[in-house]
């Protein structure tokens, strides 16, 4: 076959399928995260970031979490995400206090439960950096996109509180208690891990790149339905197109005197109804 430089053509079916799985899609897959452990020199941190970009292309992960520790910034966690194989946002969080999952001794949640995420605190709504952090954390912890949940399976709560320049991450198990009505009463039990985090350096995407990353493809946007209008009260109006009615066949009240006889010519009525009528749906 003819070859042309610069164009890589998959040689087998399998590699073609693989290339397609990596190509941009209309509805995207669940984002995957990559978690990395860093050394303790600063040069490694910078090199690691290069590695992250490389590996994200290899493994198709668009979220990353990088842990490092040095004297200037002890116990460092870098949360980040990529757009189109480039770093979009990166936020550095320092761990001030940490209680691990195994330290708290009680029953845990099964793996893979979709957590409920709760954000509390003014900062998540007002401060730009905290807004991005919120978006990033949702991206990290939201799990797969589901269409339905089992009500009894809602048992994991991740609670993020922004207070006095710190972010408190707490993880609870949710116990559903009887309340006397349909909706249960909630009791929470801490299961760990819990973090007290401080925001350190941030590397946020510029507003236009951020906007570009949010851009929805046209095919996903809901299509506007034609010929349907709404009035001020939210009533839907549609238009019904009708055939010309044959009034000669209209069934009226049955009376002996009005009965049709054979050979009787029915006079055509001119006063037809207008063809199109506005009808409330």
């Amino acid at each position: 076959m003819t070859q042309l430089d610069g164009i890589v053509k998959p040689k087998t079916r399998r590699s073609k399928r693989f290339m397609e799985s990596r190509a941009p899609k209309l509805t995207e897959d669940v984002k995957r995260a990559m978690i990395m452990k860093g050394g303790n020199t600063s040069q490694i941190v910078t090199e690691a970031l290069k590695d992250i970009e490389f590996f994200s292309k290899k493994t198709d992960c668009s979220l990353f979490l990088f842990g490092s520790h040095n004297k200037k910034r002890p116990n460092n966690l870098i949360f980040g995400r990529m757009f189109d194989f480039h770093v979009l946002d990166m936020i550095e969080l320092g761990i001030e206090k940490y209680v691990s999952l195994s330290e708290i001794k009680n029953s845990k949640c099964p793996e893979g439960t979709k957590p409920m995420l709760v954000f509390a605190g003014e900062a998540f709504d007002t401060d730009n950096e905290y807004k991005r952090l919120k978006s990033l954390l949702i991206d990290f912890f939201r799990g797969p996109n589901v269409s339905a949940v089992r009500l009894a399976g809602l048992e994991h709560v991740l609670h993020f509180t922004a207070l006095e320049g710190k972010v408190y991450l707490r993880s609870y198990r949710c116990l559903l208690k009887k309340s006397g009505c349909r909706t249960p009463r909630i009791e929470l039990e801490e299961i760990g891990p819990s973090f007290d985090l401080v925001m350190r350096r941030t590397h946020l995407a510029s507003d236009d790149l951020y906007k570009l990353a949010h851009k929805q493809p046209k095919a996903l946007k809901p299509k506007k339905k034609k010929n349907i209008s709404h009035d001020a009260f939210g009533t839907t109006f549609g238009r019904v197109h009708m055939q010309k009615q044959d009034l000669s066949k209209l069934q009226t009240r049955k009376m002996k005197g009005l009965r049709k006889r054979k050979g009787d010519v029915v006079a055509e009525g001119d006063g037809q109804e207008p063809k199109v009528a506005k009808v409330e749906k």
Binding site: L4, M82, A120, E122, I138, A148
Partner: protein, 339 residues
């Protein structure tokens, strides 16, 4: 007496109801933002730091989390539920929180060279049936590909044309021609992909052809001449051979100090061009642009007329014809004026 008891009963019932609800109601100054689709709640209320310091930290956080979770659960329990395999399942709406995409949204494929040309000329795609009747095989066969109808490479007898060399194998000639057409098409396909991806693709050089024109022959000669280890540097010309045209230019630099008169001439010419305000007209380019414009207009007119015909039937067709005659007349009128 009876009325009083009814009121009493109602009040009692209301109280009971309130008692029941109290365990699940939470009072907040500002309502929470919910995104039930992704099981998310955002509490925008201000947290009093005094309370935080006063109470035990963990207890305060847990109380806050409990209240917020209760509100989220209340919201989730309002959703429509159904029973699936002995479990009660709530249907979640689409998530309303917009998160950035992982990869850039899909872009439409840029048009191929043929599509560009077809648009320019107003050529429209026609739907062809996949199967056609093959008279020799007496059955329906594919129009293209393997076991196609009227496959001229599969004939068992071919008439040798009078002009052809009698020793030439006509069968292999046809297969070769077909193979070349296929290869050319594949190459064009790849070039289209390269153009779409904005990859620089090398020039193809010379494509095989039945009849080569004079220019193409000249190009073939020049390609052959430069295809040596020294890129044609030591290749001699034939006695009456002309220098190849359009063979590309090699950049040459003038010496830094040398011919002053020619340099002065150049500078003066440049100044002259700069001085004359009127832009220089490239006639070939202008004529090409004009022709292309006309083509495009004609195609658009044809397109529009066709669309009209589809809707209005005969009326549209006639209107189109009228328009054409009007144009011709206009042209003649212009001629008269010039006289």
């Amino acid at each position: 007496m009876a009325a009083c008891s009814v009121e009493e009963l109602l009040a009692k019932a209301e109280q009971e109801e309130a008692e029941k609800l109290r365990s699940i109601t939470v009072h907040k100054e500002l309502d929470l933002d919910f995104d039930v689709g992704s099981l998310l709640a955002c509490d925008k209320n201000r947290i009093e730091s005094r309370d935080f310091r006063g109470q035990k930290k963990e207890d305060f956080l847990r109380a806050l989390a409990r209240d917020n979770t209760q509100l989220l659960i209340n919201e989730i329990w309002k959703l429509q539920t159904e029973r699936v395999e002995e479990a009660i399942v709530a249907k979640l709406p689409e998530p309303s929180t917009r998160l950035p995409r992982e990869k850039a949204p899909l872009k439409p494929r840029p048009p191929t060279k043929w599509e560009q040309f077809a648009k320019l000329k107003g050529i429209q795609k026609k739907k062809k049936t996949n199967l056609v009747w093959d008279d020799t095989a007496k059955e329906w066969r594919r129009r293209w590909g393997y076991k196609r109808a009227k496959d001229n490479t599969k004939e068992w007898l071919i008439e040798v044309p009078e002009t052809a060399d009698s020793n030439e194998d006509q069968f292999s000639k046809r297969t070769r021609a077909k193979k070349e057409r296929v290869a050319k098409n594949e190459l064009n396909r790849l070039r289209n992909i390269a153009r779409a991806q904005k990859v620089k693709s090398p020039g193809v050089g010379l494509l095989p052809k039945a009849q080569q024109s004079r220019d193409e022959l000249a190009q073939a000669v020049s390609v052959a001449r430069t295809s040596t280890a020294s890129a044609g540097r030591f290749q001699d010309r034939l006695a009456k051979e002309k220098a190849p045209r359009n063979s590309g230019k090699r950049r040459k630099f003038e010496p830094l100090i040398g011919d002053f008169s020619s340099e002065r001439q150049k500078q003066l010419e440049l100044l002259k061009v700069l001085d004359s305000r009127r832009p220089k007209l490239d006639i070939t380019k202008a004529v090409n642009a004009q022709m292309r414009q006309e083509d495009r207009e004609e195609a658009a007119a044809k397109h529009g007329r066709k669309g009209g015909k589809g809707r209005a039937g005969r009326g549209g067709k006639m209107a189109g014809r009228r328009g054409k005659r009007g144009k011709a007349e206009g042209g003649r009128g212009g001629g008269k004026k010039r006289d």
